[in-house]
């Protein structure tokens, strides 16, 4: 598409240079014969790669010239690159724009998703044109071999059964099929129910880890939930839907939901409102998940398929293919549930912190004025009702775990731990333990605490004492911690 656009606006050829890391580097200069939809090779060169295997260059360079109004297209171009970076977190993207400005999107992961495998077409997904093409190329002499060799997930048994049900003799030479017999074959293939669903290893989804990394990198949210649906198929085309939700942090709060759409790792940046994804996102009752569209959150939908169900030739919007839509809905529901859990947990902690603030502010005053009212010199001891203790104060972590002071929690029903990493850059690792009998049980498992971040957690269960343990995340990178334990008796 880009090559075609370059050619019709500048009439300049495309240059492609590529090597898979063997001894040759191939360079082509091409134009497209638009009428025949075929390449016109202007120039072809073979360059020698380095001899030493380790020094050999590998990669692909494609050079095209195109004319366009950058002033107009700039926001979309940058958005396109940002979104591309989001679903390709293993790629370094460098862009120098026509005004000479440099944009860099750095990789944050080194891993790439596994490359897709090549497969035959699935019988449910072929049309007459495809069958004719296969027949022209096939070396098979009978229908049984034809079915087995050229179609995905068709074995001996399935092929026999299908041909029998379709009423096609198994020793018919495929090349002898007349046009109306080919039409009939396609029809029977669609009607036959015995074909196994297509496998998804021909697809190249991002995977949950990479999607998470990409979203974290480009949106910098406070929370992200990702979910990859199980492979599924529509009309013989396998597909996988991947969904993510990003919340808070640098995700902007807009009047409406922020939606990012991707098809086979390509951002779809135009005509959002015509897309089935948009319809689905709008149809979801977000209030059920404790979120309203005006909150800062973004929905990311990636559809991966051998045939993306595009609605238009422009390949910008997805059509409402029921099987795909269902997977998108279920995927969004799953991540929305995770978000709802995150928000309600955060809300619980916020309420708890507010409670503690109120207790710590008012109880000492009640004690003070009650004592003065009663003519007593010393105010009563409120620590049986509420106690706050700083167990780590400006604590400098080392490479091994160090215990904090111990908080006696016997009197309190509600205990809350608050740990803060005050260091400017270095992360720490912390855990929280509770004493039961004579054993320290882990209440908050080992968690990394990055610079400036905090843990607020209400501890469940009844323990005699509470302590925090902390160490540096990486050797010789000490961090600085404060930790408090609060107890309320209720």
């Amino acid at each position: 598409m880009a090559i075609l656009y370059g050619q019709i606006t500048t009439n300049k050829p495309v240059t492609a240079i590529s090597s898979t890391g063997n001894s040759r580097i191939v360079e082509y200069r091409l134009m497209i014969d638009i009428e025949k939809n075929r390449p016109i090779i202007l120039d072809r060169r073979i360059h020698a790669n380095f001899r030493a295997r380790s020094k050999r260059w590998r990669g692909t360079v494609v050079e095209i010239h195109l004319r366009g109004s950058y002033a107009q297209a700039m926001p979309k171009v940058l958005e396109y690159l940002k979104q591309t970076a989001m679903v390709n977190p293993y790629a370094n993207i460098i862009f120098v724009d026509p005004r000479g400005r440099l944009y860099k999107f750095d990789r944050t992961v080194e891993k790439m998703p596994p490359p897709p495998k090549e497969i035959n077409p699935h019988p449910y997904g072929v049309d007459v044109e495809t069958i004719q093409r296969i027949i022209r190329a096939t070396k098979e002499r009978d229908m049984l071999g034809f079915m087995r060799r050229h179609f995905h997930r068709v074995g001996e048994k399935t092929a026999r059964d299908f041909l029998k049900k379709a009423g096609i003799p198994k020793d018919t030479n495929p090349k002898s099929l007349r046009p109306e017999e080919i039409v009939n074959l396609v029809k029977k293939m669609r009607e036959y129910e015995g074909f196994l669903p297509p496998e998804a290893d021909c697809l190249s989804p991002l995977g949950e880890d990479l999607l998470r990394a990409g979203v974290m990198k480009e949106l910098e949210p406070e929370f992200v939930a990702v979910h990859q649906r199980k492979p599924s198929a529509y009309s013989g085309h396998p597909f996988i839907v991947e969904v993510a939700i990003a919340y808070g942090g640098k995700v902007p709060a807009k009047d409406d939901i922020l939606l990012y759409r991707f098809a086979n790792r390509i951002p779809l940046v135009y005509d959002e409102s015509g897309d089935v994804c948009w319809k689905i996102v709008r149809s979801i009752n977000w209030r059920r998940y404790n979120v309203s569209p005006s909150m800062p959150f973004a929905v990311i939908i990636h559809v991966c398929s051998t045939k993306i169900p595009y609605k238009t030739l422009g390949k910008e919007i997805l059509a409402d293919q029921p099987e795909v839509s269902r997977e998108i809905i279920n995927g969004i529901r799953e991540v929305a549930r995770q978000l709802a859990r995150y928000i309600s947990r955060k809300e619980r902690v916020r309420r708890q912190v507010r409670r503690l603030t109120v207790f710590s502010r008012y109880l000492p005053k009640i004690a003070q004025f009650s004592a003065e009212l009663a003519g007593r010199e010393k105010p009563p001891d409120i620590s049986k009702l509420y106690k706050r203790r700083q167990v780590f104060k400006d604590f400098v972590t080392s490479d091994d775990y160090v215990d904090s002071e111990v908080f006696d929690s016997r009197l309190y029903n509600v205990v809350l731990v608050h740990i803060k990493n005050k260091h400017e850059e270095n992360p720490a690792v912390v855990k929280v333990l509770g004493l039961k009998g004579s054993r320290w049980e882990i209440l908050i498992p080992e968690s990394a605490l990055t610079s400036g971040s905090e843990i607020y957690e209400t501890l469940k269960g009844k323990y005699e004492a509470i302590k925090v343990q902390a160490k540096s995340l990486k050797p010789n990178m000490e961090s600085l911690l404060d930790a408090y334990v609060d107890g309320i008796s209720e």
């Binding site: 109120v358 009640i366 004025f369 001891d381 009197l411």
Partner: protein
């Protein structure tokens, strides 16, 4: 002239209140030391717990109670505010100082106690009244508004710096302001045999000028519209301690009627208190029937007046022949008039003719 001495045993209300406050503080200390969150129980002041009592002839609170607990996060702030308020008024009592609602609101800030506006602090003071079952005047928080009294009544101050000093309330022709000092003063003796309460300042001055206190042997009180609580308390004391009948003169309209009624039977807002009413006081005028009988210049009742009359008609405090009859006449006439309307017949007409006739009619 016969002098009446005050023989009523004056109970030292202030020291009772002071003791109650101290007990409250001591209880909280004990509870906290035992690891219990302190609580306060008081009668509910919500409208569904306010009832009219025929026996007390005022609104009273029912049996429903509310508990305010320092365990409850939503109660903690008002609880603290109340403990502070208790502490603050206890200090007032201890140092024999007085304050006002507004003053209390500002004083809180010095103790790092925060009220978001005065209505919040006023509410807390009402809570404290309810909890210890005494009015705020008994813990030295007095209203801002001041009314006045004039007449032959000798009082003796109890406030610091004036202890045992005596004064006669006829010593100043503008009347003596009913402030904290007078509210707490002891009544020593009087030659008066009645109390006349007047809503309007102009009429109060006229009554003093026309020597009503002498001609009718009365103590005159000017309420300046709706009587402040300390004035209601003062009228009650005159009635209770000196056994003086009380006659109230207000404008002939629903609002004037209600000024008289609040002195007699109190308001629903003060249903938690028993020290502010004078059930035996009488509304002496101006009645709706007086508009006809005395041919008084009048104005038409407006929509608001009529709406108010309908409310009063069904108000349990107005369930009495005189009140009901006057309300009916108002509704029929659709007219109202002010105390000053008598001036149409000359400045002294109200004193020379109306007052003696009315007092006679009421058996004074």
């Amino acid at each position: 002239m016969t002098y009446k001495r005050n023989n009523a045993r004056t109970v030292d209300l202030k020291s009772i209140v002071q003791k109650k406050l101290e007990e409250m503080g001591a209880r909280f200390c004990t509870e906290i030391n035992r690891g219990m969150f302190p609580t306060v129980r008081m009668k509910s002041r919500s409208t569904d717990n306010i009832f009219y009592s025929q026996k007390h002839r005022q609104y009273i609170l029912g049996d429903r109670t509310v508990t305010r607990s320092s365990r409850n996060i939503a109660h903690l702030r008002p609880f603290t505010q109340m403990v502070w308020t208790a502490y603050f008024v206890h200090e007032l009592l201890r140092q024999k100082k007085t304050s006002t609602l507004r003053d209390v609101y500002y004083s809180a800030q010095a103790y790092d106690i925060f009220f978001k506006d005065q209505s919040e602090s006023d509410n807390i003071i009402t809570d404290l009244e309810t909890a210890i079952e005494h009015s705020r005047e008994s813990f030295n928080v007095f209203p801002e508004e001041r009314s006045a009294v004039f007449g032959d009544l000798t009082i003796q101050y109890t406030v610091p710096g004036y202890e045992n000093r005596r004064m006669n309330l006829s010593s100043h022709p503008d009347g003596v302001m009913i402030g904290p000092a007078l509210t707490d003063a002891r009544f020593i003796e009087t030659s008066a045999d009645k109390v006349i309460v007047i809503e309007k300042g102009a009429m109060f001055t006229r009554f003093v000028e026309e020597r009503v206190y002498e001609k009718f042997n009365a103590i005159l009180i000017y309420t300046a519209g709706q009587a402040p609580r300390s004035t209601r308390y003062f009228i009650r004391r005159l009635n209770r301690e000196l056994d003086l009948p009380v006659y109230i003169f207000s404008d002939a309209d629903p609002w004037g009627m209600h000024i008289a009624m609040v002195i007699i039977s109190g308001s629903a807002n003060a249903a938690h208190l028993r020290e502010l009413t004078t059930p035996d006081a009488k509304w002496a005028g101006v009645w709706a029937s007086d508009i006809i009988d005395y041919k008084l210049p009048s104005e038409k009742l407006n929509e608001r007046d009529l709406k108010r009359l309908k409310e009063l008609k069904v108000d349990p405090r107005y369930n009495d022949d005189l009140w009901q009859k006057q309300i009916d006449i108002f509704m029929k006439l659709k007219k109202k008039c002010e105390l000053e309307a008598f001036s149409r017949y000359g400045l002294t007409h109200i004193v020379d003719r109306y007052l003696p006739e009315r007092l006679k009619e009421l058996g004074a």
